[in-house]
């Protein structure tokens, strides 16, 4: 039976290989693009720290906290790269349990705005475990789908994947965090697609989701969520109400022009016209201050990163590696499109972070862990099993 597949590589095997061989398989391009994106995030943290009239390099500013998290993320990336990803396959179910545990914990003792429970506060730090849960979900799903490569034409395997995603998705929905639960759905969809699951069943599944929409609309979504979801469709938004953020965000983006107003010079951003400018609407600050050129640089970096993630998946001889890459790529792409689209008024308003750029330790560290695992997959493919 499939015991070989799940057997972890012994430490001695890996240590016996030359460090040079491992380094050659390390995708320097992937690390570079991720590093540049994180740098963009730091630049945005800097410009967002200036406006308070406090020195951005003082302790406690968005920028210094961003620097700290970038350091932690770099360490997490290196550790994840060094860690043999094969253990993750063995530990798939404990990982799943950990994921559910973190989400339940968040619901139990988490804080959030207006009675929600989204993050856990320890001392001066807050950590949003739903970000880490996304990576853990990818690990669990990758293991599940990779071990069922031969059975992906059956409805059973597809429904099984859906059942795996169900509990965490519902737990996140309860926080309530509609945006993150949509990311879970996107990860599932992307991974099912890349796993090669039957088009017939995927189509049926998609039809089922569409059929669910009216039910979700009437019984699950709250009023403010509906309002946010639809306000982008309204050509003349209520500028003082729910459309305010969107309107101000579009003005910010629009007034950027080719090259932007220059860092820290964004009047929309520095004048506080933009809501949540360090998090959900960070892209509008970028677009206003760095212009079309800055926006394009960001998009190109994301495209290159996605390319390297897909290349890693393609090259992986281990189906787990391919599936993991597919999940990671789906997540990054979905978050990019929904966040940037929201800021530019072509996507509903959901609190989905822009990977690497949105200020937030959990998001950045989770991305670093995800990419670290991908690097771990990269450098452990030279040891072919045939």
């Amino acid at each position: 039976m499939g015991v070989i597949r799940a057997e972890p590589v012994r430490v001695t095997d890996w240590a016996a290989k030359s460090v040079g061989a491992a380094w050659r398989a390390f995708d320097l391009q992937l690390a570079t693009y991720a590093g540049l994106l994180a740098a963009v995030g730091l630049v945005m943290a800097y410009t967002n720290s200036v406006e308070n009239g406090i020195s951005p390099i003082e302790a406690g500013t968005t920028f210094t906290r961003g620097l700290m998290w970038a350091g932690i993320a770099a360490v997490a990336f290196i550790l994840a790269t060094a860690f043999d990803y094969h253990w993750l396959k063995t530990l798939s179910w404990p990982v799943y349990a950990l994921q559910l545990g973190l989400l339940v914990l968040t619901l139990a003792i988490g804080d959030g705005v207006g009675g929600s429970a989204r993050w856990i506060t320890v001392g001066p730090f807050t950590f949003q475990f739903s970000e880490l849960a996304k990576i853990l979900m990818i690990i669990v799903l990758a293991n599940y789908l990779a071990s069922r490569q031969a059975r992906l034409d059956s409805l059973r395997a597809i429904l099984g994947a859906c059942l795996l995603v169900g509990p965490p998705l519902i737990l996140v929905m309860l926080q309530p965090d509609l945006g993150t639960s949509l990311v879970f759905a996107a990860i599932l969809a992307g991974m099912l697609w890349m796993s090669g699951a039957s088009l017939v069943w995927l189509g049926a599944l998609a039809a089922g989701v569409v059929a669910m929409i009216p039910i979700a609309w009437n019984y699950i979504l709250r009023d403010y969520q509906k309002e946010r979801l639809t306000s982008f469709l309204n050509p003349t938004p209520d500028i003082t109400g729910s459309g305010y953020q969107l309107y101000q965000s579009q003005i910010a983006v629009g007034s950027g022009g080719w090259f932007g107003r220059g860092l820290t010079n964004g009047t929309q951003a520095q004048g506080d016209f933009l809501p949540v400018q360090t998090t959900d609407f960070v892209f509008s600050v970028l677009a206003e201050e760095l212009g079309f050129v800055g926006g394009m640089v960001l998009f190109v970096l994301f495209a290159l990163l996605l390319w390297r993630v897909l290349v890693a998946g393609w090259r992986s001889r281990d189906p787990f590696g391919s599936m993991f890459a597919a999940g990671l790529a789906s997540m990054i792409l979905f978050q990019l499109v929904v966040n940037a689209g929201m800021v530019m008024g072509i996507m509903p308003i959901t609190g989905i972070p822009l990977p690497f750029v949105t200020h937030g330790g959990a998001s950045l560290v989770s991305m670093a862990i995800g990419l670290g695992i991908l690097q771990s997959i990269n450098i452990r493919q030279t040891r072919a099993e045939w």
């Binding site: 101000q248 897909l310 099993e385």
Partner: protein
């Protein structure tokens, strides 16, 4: 079974799925790029314009308020920078309001209800600043400033506060500034007032508001989403400072007047009085004191509602300028009217003797002489000099109420004097027409008698009274009393020079007024006014005692005393034949039941101080409680 085999189960699909995923990436990034291009490049100009529009706003630059000087250039009002605490209600979340207000109240050591009250009576919109405290000390201002994040919506502003050099001494004249009221705001907005603006509320501050205020400038200011100004972009229009005022008032005379009045008030235990000094040749007011007074600096600093209520409740009405905003029966000082009228209408000549007696009878009513004896046959000098009631009952009877009223109007009674101070009252001159209008009946002859001696319906303001005697002293010109001499523009140029304003020339023969002036001198020389004649200066004048209110247990009414006196141009050697007087002074002592005429003592003391007379002629015994009528 191995992984290789597993994967080969779906090899064809795997490639196509990567291709499709890659296409989705390209399409998604392409769509985002297209949208970015649409917003930033295709419509960038439009969005930049919206952005510029919403972040700049035209804000007013307050103009420095004009200053006020006395006639000798002494600064009476200054502008001093102070800290004010303001709240923009829109930035103060309702859920935090109680907590923020409580915190602010503790910092300002005031009552939370005062702050709530200020916010609730905000005349502007929720986006306009509301002043909740002014004249905050620097340490407190700094504390509040630094607590900014804990006090949402609260701002500390530097603004100019009025500082009144002499405080209570001139409060009734200068008045004070205060926040614009909600009722006035709609009209004032059109004139460029802001909801948190200060404006003159009473006194000269109100009367000369348009001159003092100046013209506000404007500047374009960058602001953030909450409306907070972040930086000044450019000055659009410079503010033009307000014009300054030079008063006719002489601080030294004002202080003397207050000193004299306070002395008598303390001596008697009296609570209300007025002293006015004027130049009868021009209508310039040299001093005007009304007691009790209040400190206008307390208003300028923002008076608490409790303190304000206390001022309002005081029975002597300290907020009222009793010289112009209240009227009283003038008593015998009013005999000037009947005397002038009877002479000019040729009812009598200066030599005509009229029989004075213990009382006159009209129907069943007896009209008593004040000393219940009379002086036998008396001419005008004797009648006016002794202030004979029976003499003037008869003169009033000769004239009749309408003719008496005519002469009262000639002296300026019955109409506001037009002094440049707000809220002046007109007083009452009883005529048939007036009574018909007010009470629906003609004047009874007895009422005309009373009107002739300044009792009954007669009501005058102290200013009207002194102005009538000023007309007597200057030979028949009724001037409009003035308190502002010159208006001086911000560049120091006199915008409006001083010019005496004539209400009318009295329709009277100069000889009649000469007789009345000498009769007024007779009042002094006959010792009707005690030792006034002993002073080394010549004074002519007339005292008056007027009953008011309700009788006491012995059936006697409380009364007030008046005295109006004037000196010739050369106070030592001049005569009252010539209408050349430069100084007329009046005193009004409300509810002054004393052995002598309290007002006379006050005016005497003022003359002593004014002319620097070393010897003290005051007779404090006369100010002891007693009944004036019983002594003589």
């Amino acid at each position: 079974m191995n992984t290789h085999l597993d994967r080969s189960a779906v090899p064809d699909r795997r490639f196509s799925r990567y291709i499709v995923f890659g296409l989705i990436v390209v399409l998604a990034v392409g769509a985002l790029t297209a949208r970015l291009f649409y917003l930033q490049i295709a419509n960038g100009t439009e969005y930049a314009a919206i952005s510029a529009r919403q972040r700049t706003v035209l804000e007013p630059i307050p103009a420095p308020r004009g200053l006020i000087y006395d006639r000798n250039g002494r600064l009476l009002v200054d502008n001093v920078p102070t800290f004010a605490v303001k709240i923009r209600p829109a930035d103060l979340p309702n859920t935090q309001r109680d907590a923020v207000v409580a915190r602010l109240a503790a910092l300002l050591s005031t009552d939370a209800s005062e702050i709530h009250g200020a916010i609730d009576s905000n005349p502007g919109s929720a986006f306009d600043l509301v002043r909740v405290a002014q004249d905050v000390d620097q340490a407190t201002a700094q504390l509040i400033s630094e607590a900014g994040y804990e006090l949402p919506g609260v701002e500390v502003a530097v603004e100019a506060r009025r500082q009144y050099t002499d405080g209570p001494l001139m409060s009734h004249l200068l008045g004070y500034t205060g926040p614009v009221s909600a009722e006035q705001l709609p009209d004032l907005r059109e004139q460029g007032y802001q909801p948190d603006d200060l404006m003159g509320k009473v006194g000269l501050e109100a009367q000369y508001e348009t001159d003092l205020r100046g013209t506000y400038g404007s500047e374009s200011v960058a602001r953030d989403a909450t409306g907070r100004r972040t930086q000044v972009l450019q000055t659009v229009e410079n503010a033009v400072p307000g014009a300054s005022l030079t008063l006719t008032l002489d601080t030294r005379a004002q202080k003397n007047a207050e000193k004299a009045l306070k002395w008598a008030m303390k001596k008697i235990g009296m609570t209300r009085g007025v002293v006015i000094a004027m130049n009868p040749q021009t209508g310039e007011i040299l001093a005007m004191v009304s007691l009790p007074t209040y400190d206008n600096n307390r208003f300028a600093r923002g008076i608490s509602t409790a303190d304000y209520a206390k001022l309002l409740k005081n029975k002597d009405k300290p907020l009222l300028n009793h010289a112009i905003q209240a009227h009283y029966a003038p008593g015998s000082t009013y005999k000037l009217v009947a005397g002038t009228g009877a002479l000019n209408d040729r009812e009598i000549t200066p030599q005509t003797r009229v029989m004075t007696k213990p009382y006159l009878t009209l129907g069943d009513t007896k009209f008593y002489e004040w000393n219940r004896r009379g002086w036998g046959p008396c001419n005008i000098y004797c009648g006016f000099g002794h202030s004979s009631d029976t003499f003037f009952y008869q003169l009033a009877g000769m004239l009749g109420s309408d003719r008496l009223g005519y002469w009262a109007n000639q002296y300026g009674f019955g109409a506001p004097s037009g002094v440049d101070l707000p809220s002046e009252v007109a007083g009452i001159v009883p005529t048939n027409a007036w009574k018909q209008d007010a009470l629906g009946a003609e004047m009874f002859p007895g009422e005309t008698y009373q009107a002739g001696i300044g009792q009954g319906y007669d009501a005058v303001t102290p200013l009207q009274l002194i102005n009538a005697y000023a007309a007597l002293a200057n030979g028949g010109t009724l001037y409009q009393p003035q308190i502002v001499r010159e208006i001086i523009g911000p560049d120091g140029e006199v915008v409006r020079p001083f010019e005496p304003k004539v209400i009318h020339e009295m329709d009277v023969r100069p000889s009649v007024l000469r007789v009345m002036r000498n009769a007024a001198r007779e009042t002094v020389t006959l010792r009707h006014t005690y030792n006034l004649v002993d002073l080394p200066i010549k004074i002519a004048g007339k005292s008056g005692t007027a009953e008011f209110g309700v009788p006491d247990s012995r059936g006697r009414l409380p009364y007030s005393s008046f005295f109006v006196g004037f000196t010739p141009k050369d106070p030592k050697h001049g005569s009252f034949d010539k209408p050349d007087s430069r100084l007329v002074v009046m005193a009004f002592a409300h509810d002054s039941r004393t052995k002598g005429n309290a007002a006379t003592e006050i005016v005497k003391y003022f003359f002593q101080l004014h002319y620097g007379i070393k010897k003290d002629y005051r007779l404090p015994d006369l100010l002891e409680r007693g009944n004036f009528y019983e002594i003589d």
